[in-house]
Each structure stands twice: as structure tokens, then as C-alpha cells.
């Protein structure tokens, strides 16, 4: 790799590290695992840098790698393992009334199967269309639609259950 290419990669890495890490965190809820998966995604981009650097959106390539790594990583791991947000160790304190509700909702997202979680992150955080998500995950558009629908249904059920439990507890 030429010196200029090396510098290109380093600049790209520094500029995009934070964004990729945040996506990883939304996918995993685990600070360390997010670091690991983000580094793996960048490492793969590095090894393919000759090709990646010529792409219109190199960050999208790294994100694709990250999402697919995360899905396969979770698939390989124990099926009984449920990730939880380790946010208290990493978040910056600040007054935000909506944060507790957001954390509770995202904790529910983390209970979804890996592919459903990936679809939710890409749809609502990365703001991708369903066809873009299909491309990103390498699955059919119909599969994206059914996966998103199942994820929303599961979340709605879980949130309703939580509300009912909360109401009963407060009565």
C-alpha cells in the first residue's frame, strides 16, 4: 500500500470510527463487543482497501461488514444469551427526560433475534429504505418486510406486557 493510501485509510478510520462504534453498540448493547466488532469491520476494510477506497461510500461497506459480522457472531454464540445495555459504564450524564424511556425501549430491541435487531437499527438509526436494508444484509426485500413486521410485533407485545406489569405494580 502506498503512503498516500495508508494515510487515506487512517483518515477514514479516524473519521468513521465513532459512527461505526455507535451502530455496533445499538446492535449489541455491549461496549466491549462493540469495540471488537467495529475493529474487525475496519480490519476487513483495511485488507480490502484497494477496492473499498474506490467505492462511493466506503463507510457503508464497513457498516455492511459490521452488521453481517454482528449477526453471524450472535448466531455462533449461545442461543440463550440475551444482551443487555451496559450504558451506565459508558454514557455521559446529562439531563434528558426521554433517556430512561429510550433505554427501556432499546433494552427490548436487544431481546430481538439478531436479524430483526439489525433490520431495526438499519431502518430507524441508519434511516435506510427496505430495499437498501435488503442490499446491506444480502437478503430479499420480502424478507426485510417480514422481518421488520415480526420485530415490530414482538416489540409491541413486549411493551404492552411491560406496561401491564407496570400498571399492576403501581395499583
Amino acid at each position: 500500500m502506498r503512503e498516500r493510501d495508508q494515510q487515506d485509510f487512517e483518515d477514514f478510520f479516524v473519521a468513521n470510527w465513532g459512527a461505526i462504534f455507535r451502530t455496533a453498540y445499538l446492535l449489541t448493547g455491549d461496549h466491549h463487543l462493540s469495540q471488537d466488532l467495529s475493529q474487525i469491520a475496519f480490519s476487513k476494510a483495511y485488507r480490502a482497501w484497494d477496492r473499498v477506497r474506490g467505492m462511493d461510500h466506503p463507510r457503508a461497506y464497513v457498516r455492511k461488514t459490521l452488521v453481517n459480522e454482528t449477526v453471524s457472531w450472535r448466531r455462533r454464540r449461545s442461543s440463550g444469551e440475551v444482551p443487555t445495555l451496559d450504558l451506565p459504564a459508558v454514557h455521559t450524564p446529562g439531563p434528558d427526560a426521554s433517556l430512561p424511556g429510550s433505554l427501556a425501549l432499546w433494552a427490548a430491541v436487544l431481546h430481538l433475534p439478531p436479524r430483526q435487531r439489525a433490520v431495526i437499527v438499519l431502518r430507524y438509526y441508519e434511516d435506510l429504505s427496505e430495499s437498501e436494508i435488503a442490499d446491506e444484509l444480502g437478503i430479499a426485500l420480502g424478507t426485510v418486510k417480514s422481518t421488520a413486521s415480526a420485530a415490530r410485533a414482538a416489540l409491541a407485545t413486549r411493551l404492552n406486557t411491560d406496561n401491564e406489569v407496570s400498571s399492576r405494580g403501581g395499583a
Partner: protein
Amino acid sequence: MDLDQRLRDAARDVAEYVVAPAPATEAVQRRVRRARNVRLLAAAAAVAGCVGVAVGIGQLVGPEQRTPQPAGPDVVDLVWSDGTALHVRGDVVHVERELDVPIFGLTRVRGGVVFSTDPHRGQVYFRPDTGGDLVRLGRHTQAAPVGDPDSGIVAWFEARQGQGSLVVYDVSAGEELGRADVDVALRPEDNIIFFGYTPVLSVSEGEVYFAQNKEVWVYRWASDAGPESTGATPARLVDVANGVRAERSKGKLTFVRPDGSVVTPAEAGSYEGVMRSELNATGSLFATARGQVFSGHPAVVNTATGASVALDVSSAGDVPGDVWQVSWVDDATVALLYLDNRDATDTDVSFTATLVACDVVTGACSAQTLPGDGFLVTIPGN
């Protein structure tokens, strides 16, 4: 508020409140330097073509001539990791039964293999050649261990509460031989992005050579003294084994023998690389992937005479990609790890890993392509 909007808000809130760690720029720089040399090798190998056979074998191994073998060593005999499991001569060994615990660094010691898990778990394990349960040797390690294949001695770095330590352990005796405070700042992400990275250069004959503050230091654990600087830089001192030093000086590769004699391989006059190179345990042979100066092939060099032999990887068939690791299996066998991602697509970024075993006497090689994504595959390093 509908669920779609709540999800959008929640994703934004959680993402905004997560503090990303600083990018491991130094680790990337190291990786860039290392891979730059591999790219040079690949380019040179392509120019040189896939020709060349074992020449000068007699010079390498001495007067005894052997009959050339039709095939290289059995690849099944190699030890390797797919990133989450250890493969030892057909056995698949997991750290934990239920979880895929990442394996990042492998090394050989007499009687088995020592490896480290991911830096977050930071554990060091010994797997005896005789099989049986894994033996945990240490915790808090932040880099790949390095062992001495002639003994049961292995060294690794630990980091606890901001304090770095170099630990020397004897697997045979089951005891720690030495521990020295070191000023080596290792971050977990360094190891993640630079798989198997370690500042330890070598372990042998009562000495551990390691990089610290841009110099190579030596720790003689039997003495009361702490680590001492050798005055050499990591870029200059390529490897040390049994008193033999492989050095790079002014672009030339030289071997400094224990008696002070200096040997310069004729074919390595413009040697630039410091990576993908390893002395064997006795210091008598040096394996290198620097093909552009050794007939376009990975090669083995006799450190006493400077004579070199090209490893005829083409004898194993078409092996795609670049050499990523070079490793001595024993004094007659070198293992090479090739990684290739030419067939990767935007959604499939997997790598093809091919293990190659070469007989340094006959120059013949055998190869085996591994199934699945080979990105995390590693073979033992010294």
C-alpha cells in the same frame, strides 16, 4: 407516539449517549506498516512468477543428502486457530463449551500449545499435546504469548490497574519463573485490530526479548536485575534464537552468530522486511516470506552460511492470496498462512485461508484450504 417514531427517538438517544472510545490509531499504523510489507511481497512474487524449486538444499542441511519427496508435509499435522477454536491434529478444542471465546495468539512450547483469548477476557491457556483439559496459566494478558518450543517456557504481558508486567512461566514445572514491571502501554483494541500482536520478540536460553519505548529490551529472569536495553530498535532486531540474532541494517539482512561472526545472505542484499520472518528454535535456520529477494518465494536461509532455499509453494497447487504468517513447526517444517479475499463482494467480505506446510529439506509443500471465513485464522508464532 407511534412505535416507529419511538424507535427512531430511542436509537438516536442511545447512540448520542454512548461515548465511543478513541480510535486505536497507533494500532492501525502498526497494521499498515506490517501489511505494506506483505503487499510488496505479493507484488514482487507476481512479477517473479511461480517458478523456482528447491535449490541448494545440500547447503542448507549440510552434507547429508535426502531423496526429494513428492509431496510436502501433512497439513493435518499443523496447529491453527479459526478464531474461536483451536485445531490440533484433527482435534477441535473450544475454550468454553457453550461460547465461542475468541482466540487471538498462539505459540508453541515443548509439550503443547499456549494461546490467549480476547483481551477483554485476557486469559492464557495451555493445551497439552497429549490432549486433556485446557490449563489456565494466567489472566489479564493484553497480547499474544510467545513460547520456546525447546522448553516449556512462555512469556506474555499482563496489564492490571495501569501497571504492565512481563510474565515468564514454565509450563513443564507449572510455576512462574519471573515477573518484571514494564512500561508497555497495551490497549485491548490494539490486539483486536492487530491480531496476535505482541511486543515479545522471542524467548529462549533464559532470556526474553521484547519491545519497550521503541527499543528492544532483554529480561534475564534468573538474575536479580530487571530488563536491560539492548540498544537495538524493533525495526533492526528481527528475531533472536539460541544466541543468533537476525538483524536488518541499512537495508541488509544479516545474522550475528554467538561467536560474533556476521553472515549476510547473498540473495538478501536489499532485505527490507522485518515481518513474516522467524528463526527456528536453534537459530540455525531463518524462514521468511520476503519473496522478492529470494527468487520470488518464501524461503529458508541457513544462518551459518547465508545459503537460501526457496519454498516451492506452487508444488502444493494454486494457493491464492498473500502470506500472512510464517511459522516453524519443527526444524524440518515451515507453516505458511495465506489469506485471500479477491472473491469478496459488498455483502460477503469473508476471506479464504489456506494452510501450507513446507518441508525445508525437499522444498516441497502441501496445502489445505480451510472452510468458512478465514479472517481470524492464526497459526503459532514465536
